[in-house]
């Protein structure tokens, strides 16, 4: 039996990747299950999905806490979530990154494969959705499933959801990624930021929390405390602002769903400031700017 844990962001298709891998393993005569972690995750937020494969029937229904393989669809997650948590020493990490395996830092030093799946996806699909490309890398790095089975798995799962034409494109992304995957060993000892939240019980709840913000050892809580939640790491494309073209119509400021654009300065010196720590890179500002003063760049 081997168990795979996928770390992705909502919208990157971690769940479909887990299902396609299960389908690929099934094509080769194995039993396989795939399931997501259920939570309030949205597009861009860290999510998890799991695949469990065995020669015999699978009775285990739990989440995967000690995976043999981890698949990370976005290397920026490595700093936010402890992706190598519980990973077996004999395990392997497959990471979407432009870097070499030797430059990747995880909680422990394990075998590691990297592939620049975002570039592959942009080239083959035109969208930064990396779930199919990373499966090509999984096939290359682990050898547990053949690339042909992965292609069949993608055609099965993706074909049902998005149609045969787009599924073929995704299969091509997997094949392209298969060719450019590098295998090596990553560095260990990296500690990612403590993600523990302060969660008091009802009897520990301080009076007035519903109406006042409060500082705790784990950061700000209460009204307005989401300012501590830096959502800027969600983006693939970032807005580049050209103040010379800007006429200060403030449409981008109004439309920004994340309030990431701020007005600074007085009188004629007024200009806009883009707060990349919150910007999710949706591109509404660039799309709506009447003077093309904003461009989205990777």
């Amino acid at each position: 039996m081997y168990e795979v844990r996928f770390h992705g962001r909502g919208g990157q298709g971690a769940v479909m990747a887990a299902q396609a891998l299960a389908s690929a393993a099934f094509q080769e005569g194995n039993y396989a299950v795939a399931f997501p972690y259920f939570g309030a995750e949205r597009r861009g937020a860290p999510v998890m999905a799991f695949t469990r494969v065995d020669k015999d029937k699978i009775f285990s229904k739990t989440l995967i806490y000690e995976p043999d393989y981890i698949v990370v669809l976005d290397d920026k997650l490595c700093g936010l979530v402890d992706v190598s948590d519980g990973l077996k020493d004999s395990g392997m990490a497959i990471i979407n990154s432009a870097e070499k395996p030797e430059d990747i830092k995880l909680g422990k030093a394990v075998k590691c494969a990297t592939v620049d799946a975002t570039t592959v996806a942009l080239e083959t699909l035109g969208q930064p959705i990396t779930n199919s490309a990373i499966l090509g890398a999984f096939a290359k790095a682990t050898g547990l499933v053949s690339i042909d089975s992965v292609v069949e798995g993608i055609m099965d799962i993706f074909g049902n959801r998005i149609g045969e034409r787009l599924a073929t494109k995704n299969a091509n992304a997997a094949k392209a990624a298969y060719e450019v995957t590098q295998v090596g060993t990553c560095q260990g000892g990296f500690e990612c930021e403590k993600a523990d939240k302060w969660l008091p019980g009802y009897d520990e709840l301080p009076l007035g929390l519903a109406t006042r913000p409060m500082e705790t050892p784990e950061g700000l809580v209460g009204p307005g405390s989401f300012v501590d939640n830096k959502t800027g790491s969600w983006k693939t494309f970032a807005p580049i602002y050209d103040p010379d073209k800007c006429i200060m119509c403030r449409m981008c400021w109004f439309y920004c769903p994340d309030g990431a654009i701020k007005e600074v300065g007085e009188g004629d010196a007024k200009t806009l400031e883009f707060h990349h720590e919150y910007c999710k890179g949706c591109g509404i500002c660039a799309n709506e700017c009447p003077k093309d003063a904003i461009k989205m760049e990777r």
């Binding site: 309030a40 861009g44 809580v221 959502t231 439309y255 769903p257 994340d258 509404i284």
Partner: protein, 312 residues
């Protein structure tokens, strides 16, 4: 903030909209979500002296995950189906405490408004409770993973109206909630869209300054559920109004005004932008076009029948 000079209200525009964010950055909505645009603007206009209420909806989840919260004002949630009565209860409680100047606003999605929350909404409207109810209409239950709602348009793909070889998306039409609310004879009912910010700001401000039950339904596209590029949220909202798929009108004390005359552009452009309509056949597009024409015709007659001149 003093906007009253010599007895006349000075209208807020994009340039004079307060800079302070009462709905902060760092919330966890999907990139390109339409509803934070509505909520950011509404909170700027409503100001600090506001209590907000939410049923279960996307906004409840991305606006606050215990113990964190994006709102700098009180933020309450009880159940999915009783937003309007809970907001009314909050208003009554504040009145008893002598805090009669506090704005009480309920933000809800289209499912929590028109389907699950409708009996409470209809009851509160009939009793003319003194609250502002803002429905952000993203045309499906997006929070739980894109299930169809009464507000989902004909032909749209959702996870519960899949597009296959026999059935092509939803087979029923969008519920005309604004008109249902107008039939309650409340002081103010209006529709708005994130694609028409000046109109939206004016309506929220007008609703804020009125007494009694006020209902706003604001068109807020959802790139995730509509299967489209995140940068097109505002563009698609504009196209919805231009093609007659969404009408901007308001009813104030029984007088109905059309705010933006639809250009009645072909619906094709609007539909082609969205992946949820990708499977549509020419026949289905014709049905949607026919629906848009019919809706426009009915709206114009409705506006005519309840115009200022016809008022006794």
């Amino acid at each position: 903030m003093d906007r009253h000079q010599g007895g006349e209200t000075i209208a807020i525009t994009i340039k004079t909209l307060p800079k302070e964010e009462l709905f902060t950055s760092g919330h966890t909505a999907c990139g390109g979500c339409g509803s934070p645009i509505v909520v950011r603007a509404a909170m700027k206009i409503l100001g600090e002296n506001t209590v907000t209420y939410f049923p279960a909806c996307c906004l409840l989840v991305f606006g606050g995950t215990y113990p964190h919260n994006a709102f700098k004002v009180p933020y309450l949630h009880v159940l999915f189906e009783n937003s309007a009565v809970c907001a009314a209860g909050i208003k009554h409680a504040l009145n008893k405490q002598g805090k009669e100047d506090v704005n009480v606003v309920a933000f809800a999605g289209d499912g929590g408004t028109g389907d699950i929350g409708f009996q409470a909404l209809s009851g509160a409207a009939e009793r003319n409770e003194d609250i502002l109810y803002i429905c952000y209409d993203n045309e499906a239950y997006m929070n739980t993973g894109i299930q169809r709602s009464g507000s989902t348009p004909f032909g749209a793909w959702t996870t519960t109206t899949p597009a296959g070889t026999k059935i092509g998306g939803k087979e029923l039409f969008k519920k005309d909630l604004p008109k249902i609310m107008m039939a309650h004879n409340v002081p103010y009912v209006a529709t708005a869209s994130v694609g028409h910010p000046a109109d939206m700001i004016r309506k929220i401000e007008k609703a804020k300054n009125m007494k009694g039950f006020r209902y706003l339904q604001i068109f807020a596209p959802c790139p995730t559920g509509w299967r489209m590029d995140t940068s097109k949220t505002v563009e698609v909202a504009k196209k919805a109004v231009n093609s007659g798929m969404w009408t901007l009108f308001e009813m104030e004390d029984g007088v109905v005004t059309l705010n933006v005359k639809p250009k009645m552009e072909p619906v094709d452009d609007y539909l082609k932008m969205q992946g949820r309509f990708r499977h549509l056949t020419d026949e289905q597009i014709k049905i949607i076009q026919g629906w848009a024409y019919k809706k426009n015709e009915m709206d114009l007659k409705f506006v005519e029948a309840f115009s200022e001149d016809k008022k006794e």
